[in-house]
C-alpha cells in the first residue's frame, strides 16, 4: 500500500471512529428505552432534531456555544420524553388492539408531528451554527515534522467525540452505582421480578424514556457543530439508532457502543471507497447482514465466547 492510499485509509478510519462515538450515544438512548419498555421508539431521531433546534436557537439568540447547550437541551428533552411517555405511550400500552405494533406506530405519529412542526416553525432550510472552531483541525505534521503521512483531526469532531465518551461514562456510573440506575437495570432484565422486589416499574419506565430522550438530545447538540440541521433529519437518525441496536444486541448498552463504532467505521469506509450517496445503503447492508448472521447482535457473540471458557 502506497503512503497516499494508507493516508486515506487511516483518515477514513479516524473519522469513522469519531462518528461512531456519537452514533453510540444515539444508540444507547434507543437501547435503554427498548430494554426497559420493550417498545421501539421510532421518534428517536426526531427527538434529536428537536434538541438540535434548541441548540440552534440558543446559538442564534444568545450566541451560546452548542457544547454548552447540552446543559439546557438535554434536560429539556428529558422533560419532553417524560411527557410523551406519561400522556401518549403509557395509555396505549393498556389498550387492547389486534396489532401489538400500535405502540411503534404511535411513536411514528409523534415523530411525524415533531418533524412537521419543525418545518412549520423553521422552514425546511438547511441550518448550521457557524462556530469559529468548526473548520480548525490538528495536523499530524504539527507534532511530528518528519511524518511520512499526513492526518488531520478536526477540533469540533474530537471535542464532540470526547464529550460523548464523557456522557457515556457518566451514564455507566449512574446505571451501575445509583439506586435509580440499578432499578432501571432490574426492570430491563426482568419486569415481573423487579416488580416483586418493590421496584416502581411505572416510574422507571417514565425515567427511562426521559433519560433516553436526554441522551439523544445531548447527541444532537454534539452533532450541531459538525452537521447540517433540517427538519427531516430525524428519520435518518431513528434508523441509525435502530440499526445500532440490532447490530449491538437489543437492550444492551455495551452492544450499542460497539454497534455505534462498527457502523461509524463502516459508513466512513463506504463513503470513501464506494461513494458518498451509498453510505446509507452500506448502513443497511450491515443491518441486514446482522439480522441474518448474528441475530442476537455483537453482544451475543461476546457472551458465547465467555461460555466457551
Amino acid at each position: 500500500m502506497s503512503s497516499p492510499q494508507l493516508e486515506v485509509l487511516l483518515q477514513t478510519l479516524i473519522s469513522g471512529l469519531l462518528l461512531g462515538g456519537l452514533y453510540a450515544l444515539i444508540g444507547i438512548g434507543m437501547t435503554l428505552i427498548m430494554g426497559v419498555m420493550k417498545i421501539i421508539n421510532l421518534a428517536h431521531g426526531e427527538l434529536m432534531m428537536v434538541a438540535m433546534y434548541i441548540a440552534y436557537g440558543l446559538f442564534t439568540l444568545f450566541h451560546l456555544d452548542p457544547y454548552l447547550a447540552v446543559f439546557i437541551a438535554a434536560p429539556a428533552l428529558f422533560i419532553l420524553g417524560v411527557l410523551l411517555q406519561k400522556f401518549l405511550i403509557n395509555p396505549v400500552l393498556k389498550v387492547d388492539s389486534i396489532l401489538p405494533e400500535n405502540q411503534v406506530i404511535l411513536t411514528v405519529g409523534i415523530g411525524m408531528v415533531l418533524a412537521n412542526l419543525a418545518t412549520v416553525f423553521f422552514t425546511s432550510d438547511y441550518r448550521s451554527t457557524p462556530v469559529d472552531y468548526a473548520t480548525k483541525a490538528w495536523y499530524l505534521s504539527d507534532f511530528w515534522k518528519s511524518s511520512p503521512i499526513e492526518l488531520s483531526l478536526s477540533y469540533a469532531w474530537s471535542m464532540s467525540f470526547l464529550i460523548a465518551v464523557a456522557i457515556t461514562i457518566a451514564l455507566w456510573f449512574f446505571l451501575a452505582r445509583t439506586d435509580t440506575g440499578k432499578s432501571i437495570r432490574a426492570t430491563a432484565q426482568d419486569n415481573d421480578a423487579a416488580l416483586l422486589m418493590g421496584v416502581n416499574v411505572g416510574k422507571m419506565r417514565v425515567i427511562t424514556f426521559g433519560l433516553g430522550s436526554a441522551l439523544v438530545g445531548a447527541a444532537g447538540c454534539l452533532f450541531i457543530p459538525i452537521y447540517y440541521l433540517y427538519p427531516d433529519l430525524g428519520g435518518q437518525f431513528t434508523l441509525i439508532a435502530f440499526v445500532i441496536t440490532i447490530l449491538g444486541g437489543l437492550g444492551s448498552t455495551v452492544g450499542a457502543i460497539i454497534g455505534g463504532l462498527i457502523l461509524g467505521v463502516f459508513e466512513s469506509l463506504t463513503a470513501t471507497y464506494v461513494g458518498m450517496g451509498w453510505a446509507p445503503v452500506g448502513r443497511f447492508v450491515i443491518f441486514v447482514a446482522a439480522l441474518i448472521f448474528i441475530p442476537g447482535g455483537v453482544v451475543s457473540l461476546l457472551r458465547r465466547q465467555k461460555w466457551g471458557k
Partner: protein, 315 residues
Amino acid sequence: MGQMKRYAPLAILGLLAILPLVGLSTYALHILIMVIMWSVIGMAWNLLGGYCGQVSFGHAAFFGVGAYTAGIVYSKGGASAWWGMPLSIVFVSAFAMVIGFICLRLRGPFFALATLAIGVILRVTAENLTGLTDGDLGIMIRERTWVEKTWYFYVILILAAITFYLVKKVIESRLGYYFVAVREDQDAAESLGINTTLYKTIALCLSAVFTGLAGAFYTNYMGYIDPKVVFALHDISIVTIMIVMIGGVATFWGPVIGSVIMVLLAEVIRSIPKLGAAHHTFFGILLIVIIIFLPNGIMGDMPKLRRILRMGKSS
C-alpha cells in the same frame, strides 16, 4: 340483511362504474382514482398486516418496485408502460420472496422495522442506480395513453374489484385461517401443523403483488415517477398503515373507508393555504388519536362508536 351484505360490493362496483357517465369533473375523477388506488394498497397491506399480523412499515418498497418496473419497461425497453402491470407481478413477487427470506425470520416490531429499512434501501438504490432509473431525475412517460381520466378510472376500478374479491376469497379459505392463526399465536400455529414461514411468505407475496400493481398503475396514470415520491416513507408506507388503521384492521371494508377519509382529508388540508404545509402534523395527530381511542379502526370498533353516538343522542 345477509343478502344485502352479500351484494353490497357488487352494488357499489356498479354504482362506481356508471359514475363517469354522469359527467364528473376531471378533479372529482382524479380524487376518485386516488381513493380507489389507495384502497388497493390498503387492502393489500391489510392482508399481510391486518390478517397475518406482520406489520410492514415498508410497503413503499413494493409500490416503488411496481412503479419502476413500468417506468423502466418504458424508458429502457421502449415498450408501453402498461406492460409494467403484468411484468410487475413477476418482479415484485420475486423481490417479495427475497425480502421475506430476510425479514420474516423476525417477529413483531422487528419485522416492521426491517421492512422500513428495506423501503429506505430501495429509495437510496433508485437514487443512485442512475444507469437504470435516471436517479433523482425520475422517469417521465412522454406518450400518455389517454387524455381523459375515464379509462384510467376503469383500469384501477377493475384492479380494485379483483383485489377485493381475491382478498375475500383468500380470507375465507384455508389461507385466511392460517394467516389469522399466525397473527394470534405463532407458536400455537406452528404446533398445529401450520408452516408459519411458508404462510407468512405467501401473505407477503400476495400483499406485495397488489401493492406493486397499484405502483405500476401509478406510473401510467401520473406519467412521472421519481425515487422520493414512490419510495416515500411517510407519504406511502405510513399513509398506507394509517388508511388501514383508521378504516379498520382486518376488516374487508376498512381499507376502503380509510382511503376515502385519508384522501379527502389530505385534499382538504392541502387546499387551506396556511395549513397545507402542516398536513403531516394533522396526519400524525389523527394517527395518535386513532391509536388511543379507536385502536381497531372505524369498522373494527363499530360497537364502541355506536355506543358513543347513542350516548351523544340520549344526552
